[in-house]
Amino acid sequence: MTDAALDAPALPKRRSRLRATLARDRKAQMGLIVLALFVIGAVFAPWLSPGDPNDMSMDMMSGLSWAHPLGTDDLGRDLLSRILHGTQVSLFIGVSTVLIALVIGVTLGLIAGYFGGWIDLVIMRYIDLQWAFPNFIIAVYLVAVFGTGLLNVIVAISLAFIDDFARVARSMTLSLREEQYVDAARTLGFSDLRILFIHILPNATAPIIVQATVSISYAILGEASLSFLGLGVDADTPTWGLILADGRGFISQAWWLGVFPGLAIMLVVLSINFIGDWLRDALDVRQSI
């Protein structure tokens, strides 16, 4: 048969695709290792920490030592313990806020883009309204109104990111719904929701993954910023932003108070970006591996 000439081997399954692309992607490997170390650090924080993160001592602002590997802050609290415990909160907020924003935002964007008309108008006017304010201002406003605390911080940051996901999903849907395979799906009598989530959404994953990894970074930074302003989780829970904020007055005497929490934020954000790039490439079946 003439058209059997262009034979290609059957594609490896998704899992082996992920593995194959990872094997060549140095940055993603580093990212995974670094992120894994942070996750282990967060999970085993109570055992890995040299002491209690909130235990004060007279040993204030002492430099790096065996007793305090990353030094102590102005109240004599062990910095390593505080950063390890802070990892739990920071990572949890980063991942959970983006998941919430992604689910809500992508759903809104898909619906707006696919159905168009007044549905699109209503959803997009809301998104425009939110778009008009910087994300951080919205988060600050929400926390200021509803009060501080873990749940409120998560809600505030998630809501602030919804518009980004909605916009990405809508613009992808607007172009994808004109594709012939979407028409073909309609001629097969599939429902609108099925077409939207099973036929259109998988074609829009690349920009959504990029948006998600960027947003995780911003969410971690956002929580840090909120804590820095005193609008974070609460004063007793160490988070990376709070540690930075507490230490900012003493940076000239104790450099470690700014450098180590900052380094933790940077490493995690960078790792997540590398992992995101890898996922985007690995999940695109059109790209050969």
Partner: protein, 326 residues
């Protein structure tokens, strides 16, 4: 009972409250296991008529009149949800571009089994087995491996075979094929047409084959319906139409097809002028500005379709047409 009977179908473009008729009074019918070729130039309304049958004309267009009877049911009486239930399981469609009518990020297997699992209620395993059978039937080698492949990994001809398998998957009674071979190599075109026609016949499926190539349909269809400028100008059994075309447009089309038997040096006979812009309003017969036999009457009155032997022809001067093409 006739499988599909379209009568006096009219489709309007509605924009800012204005109406413009794109398809006028189109009538055609198909029996089970039979093929009807709908032939016409771009903008003649052939694809639009097919989309109206499956209930998927685009926004801004509207069925303004006529009836569509499918398998004894009046389709205009069905609501959107009933119509959706009919698509795929009773009426399926094959598109022009096999390159773009398969979803690039889903495997062949996923796309082929989706409809069966939803519409026929098959289990994952049953659907897979049926998929392998269908791929074998459309002439794809090593079907088990193909199920795991993605559309970009197979050739255009093979993609169209997959599209045919998808169209057949839910055992429809009618398939609408909209220029199914236009995007393919000439060598593959014949194979694909042959395949569609044979499978439809074997499975007792009615086939509406939409094409702009009058030359290729002769072998695969029982009846031909020629459309021009949104109107059906002539309908006849294929064999009859080729030997004895009545409408001047059909005759022009046949005269412009190159033949091997033609003497060297004699040029092809083109139809003068260009097909009308669907937005243009032409009084009388829409073909009259290009028609060599046009009379006063043609520019004034729309010709009424009437029987002439086995033909239905919409021309005031069809009697004048001599069977010179034979």
């Amino acid at each position: 009972m006739t499988l599909l009977r379209v009568e006096n179908l009219a489709i309007d473009l509605v924009r800012d409250g204005h109406r413009h008729r794109l398809v006028h009074d189109a009538s055609f019918s198909v029996e089970r296991g039979e093929t009807l070729a709908v032939v016409g130039e771009s903008g003649s309304g052939k694809s639009l008529s097919a989309l109206a049958v499956i209930g998927l004309i685009s926004e801004g267009l509207e069925v303004a009149g006529g009836t569509i009877h499918f398998d004894g049911r009046d389709l205009s009486a069905l609501d959107a949800e009933e119509m959706r239930g009919l698509r795929g399981s009773d009426i399926a469609m094959i598109f022009q571009e096999p390159m773009t009518s398969l979803n690039p990020v889903r495997s062949i297997g996923a796309q082929l089994t989706e409809g069966m699992r939803l519409k026929l209620g098959l289990s994952r395993r049953e659907a897979r087995e049926r998929a392998v059978g269908l791929l074998t039937e459309v002439g794809i080698s090593d079907p088990e491996a193909r199920l795991l492949q993605y559309p970009h990994q197979i050739s255009g001809g093979m993609r169209q075979r997959v599209m045919i398998a998808i169209a057949l998957a839910c055992q429809p009674k009618l398939i609408l094929a909209d220029e199914p071979t236009t995007a393919l190599d000439v060598t593959i075109q014949g194979q694909i047409l042959e395949l569609i026609a044979r499978l439809c016949k074997e499975h007792g499926v009615g086939l509406v084959l939409i094409t702009h190539n009058l030359g290729i349909v002769a072998r695969y269809s029982q009846n031909v319906c020629v459309m021009y400028g949104g109107r059906v100008v002539e309908t006849a059994p294929a064999a009859e139409l080729y030997v004895h075309p009545l409408h001047p447009y059909t005759r022009g089309l046949l005269a412009s097809v190159p033949r091997l038997s033609q003497a060297r040096g004699t040029g092809l006979v083109p139809i003068e002028g260009a097909p009308p812009d669907p937005m243009e309003v032409i009084p009388g017969c829409r073909f009259h500005p290009r028609c060599p036999m046009a009379t006063e009457e043609c520019s004034a009155k729309v010709p009424v379709a009437r029987h002439a032997g086995a033909h239905m022809v919409a021309c005031w001067n069809a009697e004048l047409a001599e069977p010179e093409m034979a």
